[in-house]
Subunit: 117 residues, 2 copies
């Protein structure tokens, strides 16, 4: 159930192959947690870390923050804020898109980016 740990461990080890600065201990130090804690995270012995720690980890491992947060069972707080400001609107849109195929959602993204409003 803890996709998160395995994903992080794989990503880190892959970086570690070419660069010994990506040992568990050094990564832990750079993102500001204890080595023991990161070890437990990687092996799913504890729940995924806080949003803040997850973001530091994503940056360190050069992974997509939203993906890593998702693996940790979280949604970025800035996205939540957007939704909370117009709850009815966004709730409706997101539920509407729950079963839409990727390409349909992507089309909307492009549509909005080409901002014709």
């Amino acid at each position: 159930m803890t996709q998160f740990g395995a994903f992080v461990q794989t990503a880190r080890r892959s970086l570690q192959e070419g660069d010994r600065r990506y040992s568990l201990r050094q990564v832990a130090k750079r993102i500001g947690v204890e080595p023991g804690y990161l070890s437990k995270i990687e092996r799913g012995q504890v729940a995924p870390p806080s949003e803040a720690a997850t973001l530091r980890l994503a940056k360190e491992l050069d992974e997509d923050p939203d993906v890593l947060l998702a693996l940790g069972g979280k949604v970025s707080s800035d996205l939540q804020e957007v939704i909370r400001k117009r709850p009815r609107l966004f709730a409706q849109l997101i539920r509407e898109l729950r079963d839409a195929p990727d390409h349909a959602v992507l089309r909307l993204v492009r549509e909005v980016r080409d901002g014709d409003w």
Copy 2:
């Protein structure tokens, strides 16, 4: 800072005018919390309740669940799940829409509902 309590209190009192079954005590009983707790919630003496309790309260007071959750600083967990399943896609879309006017978002909703994908 606690919009939530005031909103709930106003809604409940408004219902109470025409129907004495909407006393704080009776509402508390129906949604399954202690009266003292609901009292503190209404006056913002404690943080807004859990998602589950908020949803029962919304139903009881016939208010929009997403709005009430938003006032409580939360986002419905089913919306979060939708986002977590395709984080990159939805993160992009939502950030893109952060500053879009309501009518633009609404147009998307309609577009999707008329499901042309």
